[in-house]
Amino acid sequence: MLLHQIAFYVLAAVAIASALGVISFRSAVYSMLSLIVNLMSLAFFFLMLQAIFIGTIQVLIYAGAVMVLFLFVVTMLAPDTESVGGRNPLRWQWGAGIGLGIILAGGLILAVVNGSLARDAHAVGADGLARQVALHGNVEAFGLALFHGFSFPFEITSVLLVIAVLGAVVLGRRILGREE
């Protein structure tokens, strides 16, 4: 249990640090690399929660395919990273954004300290999932939920993918300058 906790805190520190890196690096390439680190640490969180399938997919698709494509595009299309940034004309927005972020973080910490997370009584779905995992196995339980109760979101994800394909073709053709 102790090991588990140490792992959690280390991962949490990495996740937060890399998330801060995403928004504070001037160079888009560094931001992208810290985003990969961030997604990897999220994948490890999933693994710690025994969600092995989700963790694997997170690494394969997000940290792997998607981010690598992003990285290629960023390095190919905008190599002169120094041009990003400069004087920020909307400095007050920084202040406002940081202030609101701190309020949100404070509220969430209040929720953790003062609220229900200690009791953990409401996570109906999580309890059911744990039971099913014990019954069927990990990926099987995930698949059973996906193809039974959650079949509809699964099906309409295909519509989302159709739109993504069309978008890739419409916008991609623009990039290539190959219009009909």
């Binding site: 929720a111 229900s116 409401h122 339980a141 519509v159 739109i163 219009e179």
Partner: protein, 544 residues
């Protein structure tokens, strides 16, 4: 109450597929459009619009049959509702995408839009996402539906590749809207964390069975979730202070897309907002009400005041759509059954008149996307009497003049607010409607009582949003004529003065669409009882 284990054994049956028949037909139409595009030669892409329209009509018939005969149960493990409210919303969405498709063929040709297969398919898929979102009874489906519609609209907004304003619209919409989606998703995740449910009915049951304290238990988490969801939804309905993207996107996007999305996204987002806040989380009404109340007031005042200063009619209509979101928010804040019926009535009325108004703006627009300023509308009644008459009807309806349909929308919303104990919102609504009267009627005044304006080279003079030449002060009806005389020499002296602006000839589809919108605006305005009854029936089912 949904037992967690049943999620692993539930099996969708034929009845589930029947309940989403309208959506299935629309999806089929979109896929057929794509395949048909491969077989259609370049000059004949109008057929694709026809296929799309047939799909929309089939979907509307299915929705009507389900409205009359369906069992109103939700389908697929409580994911999506086929209740009357959802079907009513489907109808309004189908009306808006149908009119959008009717306006398209002539317009896309004039604007030089290529890749029409994707264009029509994306229109239909965006409408599909709207229908999913409006019918969703699960936070997950609300989000996926929202992403379906948003993703399609990002692409459509940036569709006129050669025009920087269109690219800017797509980019702006994409970045800001993705950010807002993030807020919404975070809020949903926290709400799930607080209640352990994503199903809205289950959230409602949970809220009824568990004492809510804002400081302890699941309270803080739920409040954070509520706040973040409110931010996400307010962005999507373009409420003040989350409205900044609206004018730029509405002006930059192809007008046929703007017409459709200004109505469709509102229907989808408001139905989802009503289902989340007025159904699932009604028991914490006192907690979220002040926030949405303030947003509603800000939206009504801000939208109307900013609309007054606009000289571009499309931009004015964008701000007017912000103002209208404020009136619709009144209904959500009130949250009673009457208010939800009023919301549906308002949405339907808004669909007819707003699509019509954008349809006229689209008809007047030049091939470079300019030409919808007040100056272009000046004296339009001389050479385009029918178009001007239609525009006047839409604008008077938007202003809330009886006996047009817009009046009934405002009437029922304000009535529901007064009965529901929000007299102050009704008063603010009436007062801001008076401001609205001014900028709507200014366009009518320009069309009928101003001289046609000689306009210089459009690329030079009308690309900016600001008035191109010293313009007549439209507020002073008596001084107007003199101002025109003063203004005239300056314009004539412009480098290459053209003839008074002649809008292009309308395609038959656009005529049909405008005629349909006029008919709806007038007939539903004179005989509102039938559709008001339908809306009341529909609102009954949403609060069941």
């Amino acid at each position: 109450m949904i037992v967690a284990d049943s999620a692993f054994t539930y099996t969708p049956g034929a009845a589930d597929w029947v309940r989403i028949l309208p959506e299935l037909i629309l999806l089929g139409a979109a896929l057929i459009v794509l395949l048909a595009d491969l077989a259609t030669p370049a000059g004949r892409k109008g057929w694709l619009a026809l296929i799309g329209l047939l799909g929309v009509a089939g979907s509307a018939i299915a929705a009507a049959l389900l409205f009359a005969n369906g069992d109103g149960q939700s389908a697929f493990f409580g994911m999506i509702a086929a209740d009357k409210a959802a079907l009513f919303a489907d109808f309004v969405i189908l009306l808006s995408v149908g009119l959008g498709l009717l306006f398209s063929p002539g317009y896309v040709e004039r604007q030089g839009i290529t890749q029409l297969g994707e264009y029509y398919a994306l229109m239909l898929l965006a409408a599909l996402g709207m229908m999913f979102m409006a019918s969703a009874t699960n936070l997950m489906i609300i989000f996926v539906g929202l992403e379906v519609l948003s993703l399609a609209l990002y692409i459509l907004s940036a569709y006129i590749m050669s025009r920087s304003r269109s690219r800017e619209a797509g980019m702006k919409y994409f970045i800001l809207s993705s950010f807002a989606s993030g807020f919404l998703l975070y809020g949903m995740a926290l709400t799930y964390g607080a209640t352990g449910q994503t199903n809205l009915q289950a959230v409602r049951v949970f809220m009824a069975g568990n004492a809510f304290h804002s400081g302890t238990g699941f309270g803080p988490l739920l409040i954070a979730g509520l706040a973040l969801m409110a931010v996400g939804f307010c962005f999507k309905v373009s409420a003040v202070p989350f409205q900044a993207w609206t004018p730029d996107v509405y002006v930059g996007a192809p007008t046929s897309v703007t017409a459709f999305m200004s109505v469709g996204t509102k229907v989808a987002a408001f139905l989802a907002l009503a289902r989340v806040f007025d159904v699932a989380l009604l028991s914490v009404h006192a907690t979220w009400m002040p926030v949405l109340w303030a947003v509603a007031v800000l939206t009504m005042i801000g939208g109307n005041i900013m609309a007054v200063t606009q000289r571009d009619v499309k931009r004015m209509l964008a701000y007017s759509s912000i103002a209208n979101a404020g009136y619709m928010l009144i209904a959500v804040v009130t949250g009673t059954q009457d208010a939800l019926a009023a919301l549906l009535i308002y949405l339907a009325a808004y669909a007819a008149m707003n699509l019509g108004a954008f349809g006229v703006a689209l008809a007047v627009e030049r091939s470079d996307g300019t030409g919808a300023t007040l100056d272009d509308f000046a004296g339009l009644a001389r050479h385009r009497p029918a178009l001007s008459a239609a525009m006047s009807i839409f604008l008077l309806s938007l202003a809330g003049v009886p006996p047009l349909v817009g009046f009934w929308g405002k009437f029922y919303v304000f009535q529901a607010a007064i009965i529901g104990g929000h007299l102050e919102l009704a008063i603010i609504g009436v007062l801001t409607s008076v401001i609205g009267m001014f900028y709507y009627l200014r366009v009518v005044w320009a069309m009928y009582f101003q001289e046609p304006r000689a306009v210089g080279i459009p690329a030079v003079s009308t690309l900016s949003v600001e008035p191109p030449a010293p313009a007549a002060a439209p507020a002073s009806a008596s001084g107007g004529g003199a101002a025109v005389l003063v203004a005239e020499p300056a314009v004539v002296a412009a480098p290459a003065p053209q003839e008074a602006y002649q809008p292009p000839v309308l395609a038959p589809g656009a005529w049909l669409g405008l005629a349909f919108a006029v008919a709806l605006t007038v007939v539903l305005g004179i005989l509102p009882s039938g559709f008001v009854d339908l809306a009341i029936q529909a609102a009954h089912t949403i609060l069941r």
